[in-house]
Amino acid sequence: MNTALKTTTLSHEQKVKLFTNLVRGNHYDKMMYRRMMQGKLIGFYHPAEGGVAPGVGACSFLNQDDNLNPHHRGHGIIHMISKGVDVRTFLAEHTGKDTGCCKGRSAWHFSYPEHKVYQQSGFIGHNFAPTVGWGWAAKRRGKGQVVMNCSGDGSYGEGRAHESLLMAQNWKLPVIFFCENNSMAIFASAEEMHPLPDISSLAQGFGMPAMVVDGQDVFAVAEAALVAIDRARRGEGPTFVECKTQRFKEHDIGTPDLRGWEERSDEEHQQMRNREPVTLATEKVLADDVLTQLQIEDIHEAALREIEEVEAFADNSEIANPTEEELMAAVFAD
């Protein structure tokens, strides 16, 4: 961690919130995986298992009027629920229903403008450009809003990342470049695709402060995120936060689980799973007397109930079925 940056200590409530969101996020991801395998989701799904802690840490303490660009992994669900978005309309969307947040028009895009979650496209790296605009708008409004910009190690290959880092640092925008480095981009290992061990080395080129944290430890992630958020809110400019995390599953359901062109080994999987984020967090909250075993069980149960309801909403909605004329009328706003 960059020594020039302050640190923060998490309160009890904050820890409980983080743990709860972690458990929720993890169950949501498993639900998505299951539904995809059941043929109940449209398009593709990029499972987040093993990499759920960064999104929770980044987003659990954002305000509703902060901007969020969720990572595509987990299709943004972990980030969004942590920020307080009710994602039932996103599941409905992903199921092709007329109650979907995009009216069933895009399947896997989400859209929650009232939470400042916009999403642009499925182009990797296209999160960066509008981030500059959000940051610039936030700065002009001067209300202390921040921009949480989450994306993967691979996305930093895009020149767009550079342009966004440049402008954010030039104008001291309240943007957090939150890199969820799972060391993989489809089949490509970060080691092969980036010349230095840390993606956050890029921040040096612009004189932007950077932190590297253990992305499997949701509490460590949140501490770093809070430091960065705090800097941004106070008008001190952007921070780069890099979380070293993991991807337990294949890139998206249906693609093989390769590194380069060879299967990732059982040993690699075993090693990854030794640092499963929910397990780590559970050990920690128990050891630190933050939660009891019973409370933990309640949290899991509540999460599963929540998800059941979300699924019921999606399943009970109708398949979106507009006419071509209705669709044509929706291309332009009045």
Binding site: H109, S121, W134, S164, V331, F332, A333
Partner: protein, 325 residues
């Protein structure tokens, strides 16, 4: 009435809209200093927060507009030369065009994009090509281009007030064209073609520099007793086909002049639509005057591959030579 150049008419549209609405702002490169006169001096009145220069980084620059528009502001993006928009094409075309529709029509993107385009400066392809056809091909973005100072002020104001993304380039070849421009606030709605000259023998559809060329030809042919109706589409998306079809009821002959490459051009779109919806009106095939399918050369060659009065005249004569069915 007072006259202004086309480029100054555009500037007046900016000024009035910047004054009217604090959410309107401009972003581009070197717009404070003013590479082209339409932005010159604006920074003095509106400050460098609203006349914003960025590094040479088109994605980030466009991102200022895209993000700010999602936040409810009304950015005007100046790409300087039209070709530079292609440097961030995936953003300014695809993701911008799809945003409103694909995300459930929850939030519109009121972004105005502009740039100088067209032949006449001998700057070669990347600094000379047209972009209206390409933008018109990708849905979700309105596309328009003014042909007169009057239209320029009114159409730029319409674009800035439109809740949708609008690409509205201006043609460098008529940048200094003078014409009457009211000092009052007015708007020329997007999607409405304009009959710039009435006539009965042949309809000529043309825009910007080529509209001016078409009007010259119409003048000349008038002397020979040939009556040309010259229509300016003004906007390509939405396109006012009705006005063209109505004109064809009278003339039964159509020449489309389009300073863009032939393949995939707006001219072809017009031809195909007229084919489908006005087949029985036609006494001659819709005839097109476009750029040939080659990169726009710089140097002297630009002059003779671009549409011009001679080519327009020849096309008009060729459709008139057809015997009516």
């Amino acid at each position: 009435m007072r006259t202004l150049t086309l480029i100054d008419a555009i500037k007046e549209a900016y000024q009035e809209e910047l004054r009217r609405d604090d959410d309107v702002f401009m972003v581009g490169q070197d717009i404070r200093g003013g590479i082209f006169p339409h932005t010159k001096g604006l920074v003095e009145e509106f400050g460098s927060d609203r006349i914003l220069d960025t590094p040479i980084a088109e994605s980030g620059m466009y991102g200022v507009a895209l993000g700010a528009a999602q936040e409810g502001m009304r950015p005007i993006v100046d790409f300087m030369f039209g070709g530079f928009s292609y440097v961030t094409f995936s953003e300014c075309s695809v993701t911008t065009g799809q945003y409103h529709f694909l995300h459930g029509s929850q939030r519109a993107l009121p972004i105005t994009m502009t740039a100088g385009v067209g032949t006449g400066q001998r700057l070669a392809n990347d600094h000379a090509m047209s972009i209206h056809g390409t933008f018109a091909h990708h849905p979700g973005i309105k596309v328009a281009m003014p042909s007169t100072p009057y239209d320029a002020k009114g159409m730029f104001k319409a674009a800035i007030r439109d809740n949708n993304p609008v690409m509205i380039p201006w043609h460098m070849g008529i940048m200094m064209l003078k014409g009457e421009v009211p000092e009052e606030d007015y708007v020329v709605p997007l999607g409405v073609a304009d009959i710039k000259r009435e006539g009965t023998d042949v309809t000529v559809l043309a825009n910007s520099l080529q509209l001016q060329n078409a009007l010259k030809v119409a003048d000349k042919l008038h002397g020979e007793g040939i009556s040309c109706e010259v229509i300016d589409p003004r906007s390509f998306v939405p396109f006012d086909l009705e006005t063209v079809l109505r004109s064809l009821e009278k003339t039964n002959r159509l020449v489309v002049v389009d300073e863009d490459w032939e393949s995939g051009s707006f001219a072809n779109t017009v031809s195909a639509k007229v084919m489908e919806q006005g087949f029985d009106l036609l006494d001659a095939p819709v005839t097109r005057v476009t750029l040939p399918d080659m990169p726009v050369p710089g140097g002297y060659m630009e002059d003779y591959i671009a549409p011009n009065v001679n080519k327009i005249e020849a096309a008009i004569r060729s459709v008139l030579a057809r015997i009516a069915a």
